[in-house]
């Protein structure tokens, strides 16, 4: 081929190249470290969806609603119920009426007054079964409003978890605004909280500004909070490291060291009220026998998984996690004893074969590694499993239909009733486990309003479940947050909701 006279071409190309470099070299294109005292951006791998607080159960909505709305009561970091819009409350002797004394002079973002009528509107609306949270309020009868600052919540049966039902998700709405704006009134996100809604660009950002007329003084220090849903872990960590984020939720365990190596960042680890467990099909061999279920419990090296795979968390023993009402401190996690597991398995009459073990893809960190380790521990004691890590929706379907011998799931909540009533008494995942004594105790706990008494009832139920239960508790998970060292006053609750209302950048 002729080389030709390419002087011009070369010059052209050089020019082009130079232009390209100039474009690339525009340098730091306005990416500041974002170190403002007034504004912070935060992220977790979760997208906001429905804005109606009464119609969803997503952690991100709870978290943002905590800033936009107030609830009658709140739960503090130690798990204690504290006043918020209700200054005081008492229960009638029969447990059917809860009287809340409401705070006076509370205003909604649009200027409406918060009164007992707001409570009546918000709670009675929950009876609409189309709302995702209505199942927490099936026993609600009416809300009486003798005066503006008294609300009496009447129920058909005594409701043990009443206060739990009233926290984070039960955001108080303005009845006047709802009347004015019609069925989609909630899209305006008008609450009484210390922050007010500014804008929501779907999949991009959710912005809220300080509401200076909030009743709680002193007001929060941070003037503007921007929430960004960043699903990809590595990207979220990068944004934290560049300073674009003040806080990133859900730090992957293997990133903790990287963040700790950065002198501008810190890592906060909180034991969450979220424990992984194995659910067992109790009407099929070998889990139809108590010995079979115990064999499985002894076959798992919980400490090994916590130390080597999760690099955090702690082995679990029962359905109620440490710190929650009803926690049974007498129950210790099952020891790792493969020999005992083998003999129990023989006692259960296990003849061998493959057990169907299902797990949801992406719901929990390292779910694949954890289930593979467990499956190999089962194999070591003679329990062969066919492990399938499946897409979440398919998993939900299989689990709900009882198409498993073993499934793995976590359970995040802030009251023992949620998990016990759904997963044991109502057996929604069709484990086939039956013990009337346990069911009666759960129902008793659900209908007892004295919280101390409730705790004792749940402990009694767990004593039985520990020995023969349909669930093998694995470990309590940690919630790991990465944040700027300059961020102070950040609160992380054990129920995986965080709070910037007392936070500041120093």
């Amino acid at each position: 081929m002729r080389s030709g006279d390419l002087g011009m071409t070369r010059r052209d190309v050089l020019k082009l190249g130079a232009a390209g470099m100039a474009a690339a070299g525009l340098g730091p294109l306005g990416c500041s470290r974002g170190d403002s005292k007034d504004q912070v951006a935060v992220s977790r791998p979760e997208e906001l969806q429905k804005l109606d607080a009464s119609d969803q159960y997503n952690l991100v909505n709870y978290t943002l609603n905590l800033h936009l709305f107030d609830t009658l009561v709140e739960m503090d970091e130690s798990g204690k119920y504290v006043p918020s819009l209700a200054e005081a409350w008492e229960t009638s002797p029969d447990g059917l009426a809860w009287t809340f004394k409401l705070r006076k002079g509370v205003k909604f973002h649009n200027g409406d007054r918060f009164t007992s009528k707001s409570v009546k509107f918000t709670l009675e609306r929950m009876k609409d079964r189309k709302l995702a949270r209505s199942n927490f309020w099936t026993e609600l009868d009416t809300v009486d409003t003798p005066d503006d600052s008294t609300a009496i919540v009447r129920t058909l049966k005594p409701v043990g978890p009443m206060l739990a039902n009233l926290i984070t998700p039960t955001a108080m709405y303005s009845e006047k605004q709802a009347e004015k704006d019609g069925p989609t009134f909630y899209e305006k996100l008008i609450g009484t909280g210390p922050y007010k809604f500014v804008e929501w660009k779907k999949s991009e950002k959710f912005v809220m500004d300080l509401f200076p007329d909030h009743w709680r003084q002193p007001l929060p220090k941070i003037k503007q909070i921007t929430y960004r849903p960043i699903m990809e872990d590595s990207t979220r960590m990068s944004d934290l490291r560049t300073g674009a984020l003040a806080m990133a939720d859900t730090v992957p365990p293997d990133q903790v060291k990287v963040l700790q190596g950065d002198d501008k960042l810190q890592v906060l680890r909180v034991m969450a009220w979220d424990q992984l467990y194995l659910g067992l099909k109790c009407d099929q061999s070998p889990f139809d026998k108590v010995e079979g279920r115990q064999a499985l419990n002894y076959a798992i090296d919980r400490q090994g998984i916590v130390d080597k795979i999760m690099e955090g968390g702690r082995p679990a023993s029962a359905i109620v996690p440490q710190g929650m009402i009803g926690y049974a401190d007498n129950l210790k996690p099952y020891a790792y004893d493969p020999e005992k597991a083998k003999s129990l398995l023989a006692a259960a009459g296990w003849k061998g074969g493959k057990l169907r073990f299902i797990a949801p893809q992406g719901w929990y960190p390292k779910i694949k590694e954890v289930t593979e380790a467990i499956a190999s521990q089962f194999k070591a004691v003679g329990m062969d499993t066919d492990l399938t890590v499946m897409e979440g929706a398919a998993f939900t379907k299989a689990r709900g239909a009882g198409e498993y011998n073993i499934y793995i799931t976590g359970g995040a909540s802030w009251d023992p009733d949620t998990m016990l009533d759904q997963r044991v008494r109502n057996d929604i995942f069709k484990s086939g486990y039956k013990n009337q004594k346990v069911f009666d105790l759960i129902l008793e706990g659900r209908t007892t309003v004295d919280q101390a008494k409730r705790g004792e009832i749940y402990k009694a139920a767990q004593d039985i479940l520990y020995v023969e239960g349909p669930m093998a508790w694995l470990f309590q998970m940690e919630a790991i947050y990465g944040m700027k060292k300059s961020l102070k006053g950040f609160i992380a609750y054990p129920f995986k909701v965080w709070d910037l209302r007392k936070a500041e950048i120093v």
């Binding site: 390419l6 997208e47 109606d52 660009k201």
Partner: protein, 306 residues
């Protein structure tokens, strides 16, 4: 010409109808139940059944499809189960970001690939050629996902030249556009190089040289023009791949486009949103290809549609 465009537009409607049937079947045959996913993990069966009925998901599939298509023909693509807002509005909110990203990626890949391909051909077997082909091989062999993460780590975390993710000014667009455009860039570089090598041996090129046209004139005016037809064809075909790649790129860069939206919607079995998004994105693809077909006429005067 006008008749041709009209006919093509009518055909597009048929294509979109086909797409709607396929997507409807696929998403409904995938295991999973939106009603169950809408409620908390552990909701009672009776509550799930209630929601299923309220959403009309208890109807036979053909009835659901009939409802969907009847509404769709009236411009109503249904209500997203998760957002509880019209699906069309949600997609239109996300579509500009995807159009912006795919176009930036296209422009980036062509701006790099065409000069590089020409240079590699004209300077065959020199260091320029090796450089061009090396880049093309890397671009083609590198997974988009990995490339995105590496660009973030290098340019955002190490150098701090650009933000790691999000959408805003031009600086937010650069890394995602490079990531998404890299495979197309590689493909076009090789296409231009090999096409150019063939053409430079043609008689008419020799004629042009013989009559004293400067070499850059030969390359840019005579040869390049003939590369345009295969180039436009490939770009049209690859635009689908670009839209597919956008799903990954948008996830890596937290880019608020349709790709990410669809993935989330599929995970949540948000049927109306998945259907509406697929229809609109397919429409976008069909439209781009129509525009490119019309472009042929201007690139090659011999092409006539009648």
């Amino acid at each position: 010409m006008v008749a041709y465009v009209l006919r093509r537009l009518l055909l597009s409607v048929l294509v979109l109808f086909g797409v709607s049937v396929v997507v409807f079947s696929l998403i409904h045959f995938a295991p999973g139940d939106p009603a169950r996913l809408l409620l908390p993990d552990g909701a009672l069966e009776e509550d799930v059944a209630f929601v299923r009925k309220a959403l009309g998901l208890d109807q036979p599939l053909y009835v659901q499809y009939k409802v969907f298509i009847t509404h769709a023909l009236q411009g109503d693509l249904g209500q997203s189960l998760y957002y509880k807002q019209p699906a069309l509005g949600i997609i239109l909110e996300h579509l500009p970001a995807t159009i912006e990203l795919t176009f930036a990626a296209l422009v980036f890949s062509l701006l790099v690939a065409v000069p590089m391909g020409i240079l590699s051909a004209v300077r065959r077997d020199t260091v320029w050629d090796y450089l061009g082909m090396g880049l093309a091989t890397i671009g083609q062999a590198t997974p988009v996902y990995w490339l995105g993460l590496m660009l973030i780590l290098f340019f955002a975390v190490q150098l701090r030249w650009m933000p790691a993710s999000g959408r805003g000014g031009v600086e937010y667009l650069i890394l995602p556009a490079i990531t998404l455009g890299a495979p197309l860039m590689a493909l076009v570089t090789r296409l231009v190089r090999s096409g150019m090598l063939d053409l430079l041996g043609e008689d008419y090129i020799r004629t042009a040289r013989a009559k004293g046209v400067a070499e850059w004139g030969v390359v840019l005016r005579h040869a390049l023009r003939n590369i345009m037809i295969p180039l436009v064809t490939v770009v049209g075909l690859q635009f689908g791949a670009l839209l597919g790649g956008a799903v990954i790129t948008e996830t890596v860069f937290a880019w608020p486009g349709v790709g990410r939206l669809v993935v989330d919607a599929i995970t949540a079995r948000d049927y109306p949103l998945v259907q509406a998004a697929t229809l609109l994105v397919s429409g976008y693809f069909v439209l781009i290809n129509l525009v490119l077909d019309v472009l042929y006429v201007y690139l090659d005067p011999r092409v006539r549609y009648s």
